[in-house]
Structure formats: structure tokens, C-alpha cells
Symmetry: C2
């Protein structure tokens, strides 16, 4: 039984048994984020928790971008003010493993094509579908019960399929064209939707968002992006696809890679130039830039340098804050993470939008 | 020549040669902190940079607590609004190494006693003075030149002296009583002050703060604390010592260790209890608590857990923010750092004083 208590209630006390045995939420302290569901004091984790992480071929950045992308798309359909986020409870591990596998006599549900026997990168049948993620969006019904009221399903597609010809052997790559990825993605989406609509745990006629994600290569310093999504209002009708134009890239751009807007990279390079020579020892300065079309949407800057004292950390942080104000765009979310040579975060600067203060924090120790 | 330009000036442009060849400051973006000195676009690092770090016997937490402690004491004497911070430029590496050494025929300046030949922990002469740190406090003179106007010298004293009987051999410990440490510290302070007053780089009659620091043991999870300081107004007069009553401790307290105030630890344990069972896998929750007397001054909480998705990080961060509001003191600086099992920081919650918002940040990736 799904008992929902504590929504909008800041108390965590267990004085009422309905609360302690029922559901609570995490609270919403992070602006614009969803509240999550807590059951008996424990977070209700995904039924397919960990499926993606155990794939050793996975780039962790893809996972982060995938989930963050799904949340962003979901917010358009399921407002965080009206819906509560719940980790996927419909698709369990065994189902997801089956779906992500190849189609065989034993595994008729595999979304990837059967093995044609070839080990040649260009002749073999590659794995197109890399990951599936489910997000549940909940609302209270008239009896204060928490009910599944919307779903977002993410399907992560490969442009490169990494494989071994023999166990523990060298890694080979089958390239997948953009057209082929789009085509296979649409086929997989249709199958997934049809299967979901058959499941008894999925209430009839709830909206289901299907979002398609293009995986970044394993050696990429940014994750992939959502390239299209659709909202199925009811039944097995996919609805019409909305194509998105998101792109993540790295500054400074690597050889031959074109960035969406040269001006942004130039701003970054001015910042980098100012910052990297602050100490006698060089600081490493890189960035992830996120674009919609040619318009910058956000910038994550990573700085690594060797510090010899706490006062150096403080001075450096003040300096980069000033440099950020002068050189970096003020109208998009900016996050700067400063790490020491041991990899530990030392300080952090954040600015969300024009007019906001620059938030600065130096991590200390007593 | 010390040319000072750019104080209170947010521009970093090098349009004027006086600026580009002279001094700038880091800016002051971190509330209540000092601006630092930049020379030709580079930070003016300490002349004894790295001396402490190369000592392999050093606990890095001591270093952080030592420098942070010196800054806090300095702020009482040299207001950040009136003084600019400069890393120590008077004592160079070679001088500091000599002072930290034993007194020998060759090294007459050694502050530590001569080797009496014994290797027995109780009979040998231990090393009392472990580290010396110099902080310079600068002001502009009438010609806009930056001049040394105050100094803080920190002297870090051992309660335990770690040593080897043979190179690369086992580590032995000579314990030093509190009384002995205080006595040796006063002797060292008097010598250091007298030497500084003789140095041509130290302007006559500037105030010199001498702050005494008690090192925490190597295996401590908190650093040491300043136990006394004095302000020498001029000449070799030490002035009168002010004893401080700072103490850092760890929550949960380890066996037998008494914490200054049980209520604070109980609050922490309630928080920990609520947080550590959030996921099916346990979260590690520890804290550093900083006290003056029996009064809590600040709390640094470290949480480590394994996350399986970005949505788990977001939900967890919301939950701990709510738990912090409910269980932890609201009237002292509180910083909570959340790390994944790989050690990378995932999110961060901060609250500075009663009435402030709780600042929450989830580190993301594009």
C-alpha cells in the first residue's frame, strides 16, 4: 500500500505510525528539483539499480548526462511543483538486462539484433541500444495515496559499439551512422512503449515520455545528449518526435573539433590564460560547455593545481572568482571546481544567472 | 620596488604598465577574508613555500588548522578591511630549515635541542618545534607603495615527536608534556622575535603577532589548535600572552575521548542515524567539531556513500539538508561534504548562521 505523508511537511519525526510506516519525501531544497520518495526512512531505489554501472564499457559521464537529460525533459511534462520523483519501480534488473541483450531464441525480448557470427567491426551486428532508464512521476490521489501518474523512459543509443573478440581481449569498435542510430532508436522506442502499455504496474493512459540519448564515446570528456523525445498520451501511440539540438563540448577544443560558438571558447581561453599562471607551477584548466544550438547553456570548469598552503587556496579562489566575473559569460550557469594535486576538491565558485552573486566556498578543516 | 595597483579595482586589464609590472590583489570575494598580493600576474608565494609539506611526518590537517588558526588570530590585530595579506617574504626556506633543526656547532640557530646521543623515547632530546609559518600584512603608504605593516609568526609545537632510530626504520614516539611544550614554546617565541627584530626586511616597530600551535597526533582526524598568542608592539618585548581555549574533536567520539559538550554530539548522532540508512548500502558519516571552551564554533561533516545514479545524489542531498535543518545546530557554521565511493565530491550543503538559507549544490557534469 502506498501511503503518502509528509509532503510539504518539514518534520522528520516519526511520531505518527502512518508516517513512519508510510512514505515521506526528501524535501525540495535544491531549487527546481523534484522531491524524491522515502519509504520507512529509506530511499526507494530503482528496481534496476546499478544495471548501467556494472557495464564495464560505460563512461560514467554518459550516465550523469543521461539522467540529468531525462530530468530536464521530464520537467517540461511533469512539473516538479506537481509531481514527486520516484526511481523506476516498474522495470526490474532482469527485465532491463533482457531488453538490453541481443535477440536470441532464449531472449526473445532483446532489443539488439542477433549475433550474425562475424567479428569484423563492419560486418557484425553492433549493439545499438546501450542503456534504458526509467523515471516515475507520482501524484497523490484523493485518498492521499501516492500513484504513478507519469513516466519517463530514456533509451541510450550507441554511435560506437565497443566489443571484444575474445574475453579479456583487445577492444574493437563498430561505428554506427547517425541515420542508423535514429532508425534503430525509433524501432526500440516503439517496442518499449508497447511493452510498457501491457504491464499491469503501468496505469492506463498515463503520459509516457520516451527520450532518446546519444552516447558519447568512451574517451570523451563530456557525456552524450538527448537528441529527441516524444510524449505518448495513451496506448501504444508514440506521438510525434521533438528533435532537440543539445551538444556538449570540451574547452579548449581538441584538434579539429569545431565548437558551436568561437566566442565562448575565446572567453574561456582568456580566463584560462589568466588563471593557469597564477602560481609558479601551472594549473590545469578545462571546461565542459553545454549548448542548445549555437547558444551556450552552461559551463563547468575544472581547475587542478598543487597548493602548498591553505592561504594559497583562499587567494587562488578569490582570484579565479574575479577572473570569472571579468572573462566568463554571466548569463548562464557557471560552476568552477578547484582541486589539489591529490584530486581532493579545495574550493568551488558558482554563479547561476545575471544579477546573482558569485557564490564562493573554500573547503576547510578543523 | 613595490608598486601597488588595483586595490578595490575590479579590472584585471593590463592596460597600464604600472599595473602590469607592479602589484595587484586577488580581490576579496570570500567574505571576511584577506586580499592577497599578485606580482606581474603571478601570486607572490611564500619564500619558504613547501617547507612544511616536504616533512613526511606531517599530518596535512595540522597544516590546514595551523594556517587557518593564524589567519583567525591575525584578523583580530590586522583587519582584512585595512590590511592586505601577503605570503611570508622575510623568512626563506634555508632560514626556516635552520631554525627548525637541532642546535649544533654548524647550526647555531637551531631552535631544537642538540642530539644527546640517546635513541630511547624517554631519554633522548625530542624535537619541540615542528613548524614555523610567516604571514605578512601589508598597507599602502602615501606613495601607493605596498609596505610591510604587520607580521604574524606561527610556531607549531609537538606533543609527540615521531622519529626513527635508523633511516627507513620503524617510527618511535617521544611524548612531550603540556608543561614542557609551553615552556619550550615560550623560549622559541622569544628567540624568533629577537631574530626578526634584527632583520633589515622587518620595518622597525611594526606589530608582530606570535601565535603558538599545538600539533595534533599524526593519526588524528582533526588538526591541532592555537593555544596562545601575543602581540609584540615593538622591539624584542614579547608582550603578555593571551591563552586561548580552542579544541577540535571528532564525532562520533572515539573510545574514551571526552567531547566538550555531549549535546552537540547527540545532535550529530541523531543526524547520522537518520542519514546513514537512507540507501540500502550504509553511508559513512563523521564530523569535525570546533570548540572554544565548551561552546561549539563550527561543524564539518563528511559523508561517503555509494551512489548508483545522479538522481540518487540529488535526492540524498535534499534529504540531508532537511535532516541538517532538523537535527544540527543552526547558529554555527555548518559544512557538509558528500562524496561517492570513488572519493569524488558529489554534493555539498552549507549554512553559516541562524537565519541564513541552507546553500545546497549538487556537482553535475555535461
Amino acid at each position: 500500500m502506498l501511503l503518502f505523508a509528509g509532503c510539504g511537511n518539514d518534520s522528520m519525526s516519526n511520531s505518527s505510525s502512518a508516517t513512519s510506516k508510510g512514505f515521506q519525501t526528501t524535501g525540495r531544497n535544491v531549487d527546481g528539483e523534484y522531491q524524491g520518495v522515502i519509504e520507512d526512512g529509506h530511499y526507494l531505489t530503482s528496481k534496476s539499480r546499478g544495471v548501467v554501472l556494472v557495464k564495464d564499457s560505460e563512461n560514467i559521464l554518459n550516465l550523469q548526462s543521461f539522467e540529468r537529460g531525462l530530468l530536464n525533459i521530464s520537467k517540461q511534462e511533469f512539473s516538479p511543483k506537481k509531481y514527486i520523483f520516484q526511481e523506476g519501480q516498474v522495470l526490474n534488473k532482469s527485465t532491463v538486462y533482457k531488453w538490453l541483450g541481443r535477440k536470441t531464441k532464449k531472449n526473445t525480448l532483446g532489443l539488439n539484433p542477433k549475433d550474425n557470427g562475424s567479428k569484423d567491426p563492419k560486418k557484425r551486428n553492433p549493439m545499438y541500444v546501450q542503456a534504458i532508464s526509467e523515471q516515475d512521476y507520482m501524484q497523490k490521489d484523493d485518498n492521499d495515496k501516492l500513484v504513478l501518474s507519469g513516466m519517463t523512459i530514456g533509451i541510450a543509443m550507441n554511435r560506437k559499439d565497443y566489443y571484444q573478440k575474445e574475453e579479456y581481449g583487445a577492444t574493437y569498435i563498430s561505428d554506427i551512422s547517425k541515420e542508423k542510430m535514429l532508425q534503430e532508436g525509433r524501432i526500440a522506442a516503439a517496442k518499449v512503449l508497447a511493452r510498457l502499455r501491457q504491464m499491469k504496474d503501468v496505469p492506463k493512459n498515463i503520459p509516457i515520455v520516451i527520450a532518446m540519448f546519444e552516447q558519447a564515446p568512451q574517451d570523451s570528456l563530456v557525456g552524450g545528449t538527448i537528441y529527441a523525445y516524444t510524449v505518448s498520451k495513451k496506448g501504444a501511440e508514440l506521438g510525434s518526435w521533438t528533435e532537440t539540438d543539445y551538444q556538449s563540448c570540451v574547452f579548449p577544443a581538441t584538434d579539429g573539433k569545431k565548437v558551436p560558438n568561437d566566442n565562448d571558447e575565446e572567453s574561456f581561453l582568456n580566463f584560462k590564460n589568466k588563471v593557469q599562471n597564477f602560481f609558479p607551477n601551472l594549473a590545469g584548466v578545462t571546461a565542459q560547455a553545454y549548448y542548445e544550438g549555437k547558444t551556450l547553456q552552461g559551463l563547468n570548469i575544472n581547475i587542478t593545481t598543487q597548493f602548498y598552503s591553505q592561504t594559497e587556496v583562499i587567494s587562488f579562489t578569490q582570484y579565479i572568482t574575479r577572473a570569472a566575473k571579468q572573462y566568463l559569460p554571466a548569463n548562464v550557469p557557471l560552476n568552477i571546481k578547484v582541486r589539489g594535486s591529490d584530486g581532493n576538491v579545495q574550493s568551488f565558485v558558482s554563479h547561476q544567472q545575471r544579477g546573482d552573486d558569485y557564490y564562493t566556498h573554500v573547503f576547510g578543516s578543523y
